[in-house]
Each structure stands twice: as C-alpha cells, then as structure tokens.
C-alpha cells in the first residue's frame, strides 16, 4: 500500500508546470488534491514515473463572476466552493453538489478541476457541469482551448484533455431570470459515491418549462445527460404527469450496472423518483427567483 517510485516536481508557475508536462508527457501525472490519485497510486492502479504537484499554483484557486459567467479556478477546493456566498446565492445546483461530495476532510483537499479531470462517472461534478452547460478551459503548449462540456467526457476516466494540457478553469453561464437548479443524491452513507444522483438546471415561463438540462451521476460508464427527459419537459406546462414522464425517460435512458450499491432495476427506479424530486426542487427555485 505504498505508491511506486516517482520523480516529484512542484512548479510555482503555470509556465513551469506546462514545460514539465511537455518534457515528461505520457510518464507524468498532475497531482491536484490527491484524493483520487493518491489512493490509486497506493493500490498501484496508477504508477506515474513523474508527479507534477500543482498545489503551489494558488493563482488557480478562485471563484468569481465575470462577463456573465461564474469562473472557477481548477485548484479551487470543494470546501471553498461550499463556503462561497456567491455560489450559495446564485448557483444553487453547484451549492447542492459541493455539500454532498465525499466528507469535510476530503473536501478540504479535493479540487473542482481534479474532480472533472478524473472523469469518473461516480464523481458528482460531471453531472452538475453537464446540467450547467459549462465550458472547460485547458492550457497547453499551443495556448488556451475552450472545450464545451458536452464534448469533454469521452469514456470511463477519459476526457478530451491532451496529455500536455492542464485544466485551468471551469466556466458556467450565469443562470438567467426564472431559472433554477438542484442536485439530489442518494448514497449508502455519507462519503460514499452516489447510488443515483440527478443534476437539473432549468428555466420556467410561468408554468411552462422553456429550457432544461439534466446530468446523471454514476448511472453510465461515461457521464451523461438525460436528453430524453429534457425533451419530455421543454415546451411543456409542468404537471405531475409531465414530471413522471421525465422521470421515466431518465430511468429508461440511463445505463447503470449492478454492483454493491444495488441492482439495475433498483437504480433505474431510484433515478425515476430522484429525477422528479430534483425537477420539483429546481422548479420551486426558478419560481422563487
């Protein structure tokens, strides 16, 4: 249970980090909060020859609004997200999510960038960022690249980042008027990954839903949107029947596997119920906003 040997670097500037990544390419891994990577190294599931620790890049720790966006530095800790008044007041889906990731001690270290770069469908931020229609900002030798979240996740633990790129920022559009969001997660115990969790961000015009995006956690090998459920909502006057139809659509289109957290049938039915609950909460917030 001791990690394999590696060379360790702790760059103090982004440029330095990039050139180290350039130099070592394939053999190198970035160390952010370490809450996924260090356990993986202890199990020898990850055996990097070079570790580039970016914890000294404090320039990547911020949460702020500019130009109609919420911008989150990749090294922002989950605990900082959780304590941000800006997030609590205006980004309810994100605030809901930050509270239910792991436990407070893990959240003191774990980073938002690491959560997305790890691209584990069991992680909570992928679904949330899919629902927000976020953009991922990556920096590489050729400069900055903007990756729409819909193109970011490419497989289990796989994403569109190149080997020599660093994820530097996550950008969320500020929700417009009459918008609301919610994240609802059911877990076996605190600190565990979701059995099922639903991220919703939607806009209402009176009782009619005019826009909706829904992300699903731990219900497929690649983080996914519930697009059929979205279609069941958009343009509809929201009634209990419409909510039920959306729940059923999400349950049908997700692709969970049976494991210690439950059978496929159980996870699908839980998804149906949680989708309705998350939608109800998001609609309440949209109307209250």
């Amino acid at each position: 249970m001791i990690p394999g040997e590696f060379d360790y670097y702790s760059p103090t500037t982004l440029d330095e980090a990039l050139s180290l990544l350039q130099e070592h390419g394939d053999d190198a891994k970035i160390l952010a909060g370490g809450q996924s990577l260090i356990p993986a190294m202890r199990y020898r599931l990850a055996v990097p020859e070079v570790l580039i620790d970016i914890n000294n890049l404090t320039e990547l720790e911020y949460v702020r609004e500019d130009n109609g966006h919420l911008t989150i530095g990749a090294m922002t800790r989950e605990s900082d997200l959780e304590e941000s008044t800006l997030v609590k007041e205006k980004y309810h889906l994100l605030a809901d999510t930050a509270e239910v990731i792991a436990d407070p001690l893990v959240r003191n270290m774990a980073t938002v960038g690491g959560n997305l770069a790890h691209s584990d469908p069991a992680n909570d931020h992928p679904a949330t960022m899919l629902a927000y229609n976020a953009k991922i900002i990556a920096l590489g030798p050729a400069g900055t690249r903007v990756i729409p979240i819909d193109d970011f996740f490419t497989g289990l633990f796989e994403n569109a980042l190149e080997e020599n790129e660093i994820l530097t920022q996550i950008r969320l559009p500020r929700p417009g008027p009459n918008s609301g969001g919610a994240y609802i997660k059911v877990e076996r115990k605190v600190g565990d990954y979701a059995i099922s969790a639903i991220a919703v961000q939607l806009t209402m015009d009176g009782d009619t839903c005019t826009a909706a995006r829904i992300g699903l956690t731990n219900l497929s090998p690649t983080p996914m949107r519930a697009k059929n459920a979205e279609q069941a909502l958009i343009g509809q006057v929201i009634t209990p029947d419409v909510l039920e139809a959306a729940g059923q659509a999400a349950a049908a289109e997700c692709n969970p596997s049976a494991d210690l957290r439950g059978s496929v049938d159980y996870k699908r039915d839980l998804t149906r119920v949680l989708t309705k609950r998350a939608l109800t909460k998001a609609i309440e917030r949209a109307k209250g906003a």
Partner: protein, 157 residues
C-alpha cells in the same frame, strides 16, 4: 531522496525522505509521533486526521513532500503545559471514546470544526465529523464532547 522541512507541533524538523513517502508515515515512523493512527489508508476513515496549516486533512492521502514548509499539528501538539485542549477535555468528561482508535482523528476534526464555527448546532457537529468513522461509540458522546468544548472555549462552564 528529497530534503523537507516541516514544522510539527511547533518544532522544526528537516529530514531526507523519498518523495513517495506518505505524510502519515513521516509523522509516525520518521518523527516517532504515533498518536496519529492509520485505519483504512485510503482517505475514508479519518483515523489519520491532522491539521496542515490549520486545516484538518487526512495524512494518509498527502505526500510528506507536500508538507514541506508547512505547519503540522498532531494530537501530541494540542495540550499546552500539561493542560488538555478543551476538545480533549470534552472527550474525557463526556466519555467520547471507547477503544480510542478513532479518537485522535476525531479530536483534530473537532478542533478544526470549532475554529470555523465556534458555536455549532448538534446537526452541524454531526456533519462536521462526517469524515471520521467510529466503530464503538455510536457518535453520541463524541457530539457531546465537542459541545462541551464549544461551551468551554466560549467561556462557559
């Protein structure tokens, strides 16, 4: 090998270590401070909780090199001049432990919790110690111990 300097419980230590050494092993095996326990080794149980630059983290999921230049506080560093820290005293007074294995980590989490929230509700305490597992107490007296400390630290009692 890499040289690191870490301030642990107010004392500076400079040591040559392998980059792959975990902070908890540095604390226990290199410095001989065995109050910090190891349970799961994978960031789940919280037995290894310490304060790093004032913040509670799991030392099994930190590399010792990451602590270079940092201030670390372990359970051994809480009492001053023979007087227990109020959180330690709370565990004593309220029987906040049985086997004691989770206790050092629980206490470090309790200290961090009260630093950020000096007057927590019972619910906030229960959420605050979510990263620490206890197999014996059912958490009840641990919550009371932290409540005791909160009162004492605010000048009550």
């Amino acid at each position: 090998m890499t040289e690191i300097t870490v301030n642990v419980n107010g004392k500076s230590y400079t040591r040559e270590i392998e980059p792959r050494m975990l902070l908890v092993h540095f604390i226990r095996d290199v410095l001989g401070l065995t109050g910090t326990n190891i349970g799961c080794e994978t960031s789940v149980c919280g037995a290894c909780t310490i304060l790093m630059d004032g913040q509670a983290v799991k030392s099994c999921t930190q590399l010792a090199v990451q602590a270079d230049g940092s201030d670390v506080t372990t359970i051994e560093g809480l009492a001053s001049n023979g007087d227990l820290h109020p959180v330690q005293e709370g565990f004593w007074e309220k029987h906040g432990l049985q086997c004691g294995y989770c206790t050092p980590g629980m206490i470090m989490s309790g200290v961090d919790l009260l630093k950020n929230n000096p007057n927590p509700t019972e619910d906030e305490i229960r959420h605050g110690i979510e990263g620490n597992l206890c197999r014996c107490t059912g958490y009840h007296n641990i919550v009371k111990a932290i409540q005791y400390a909160a009162e004492k630290m605010q000048g009550g009692n």
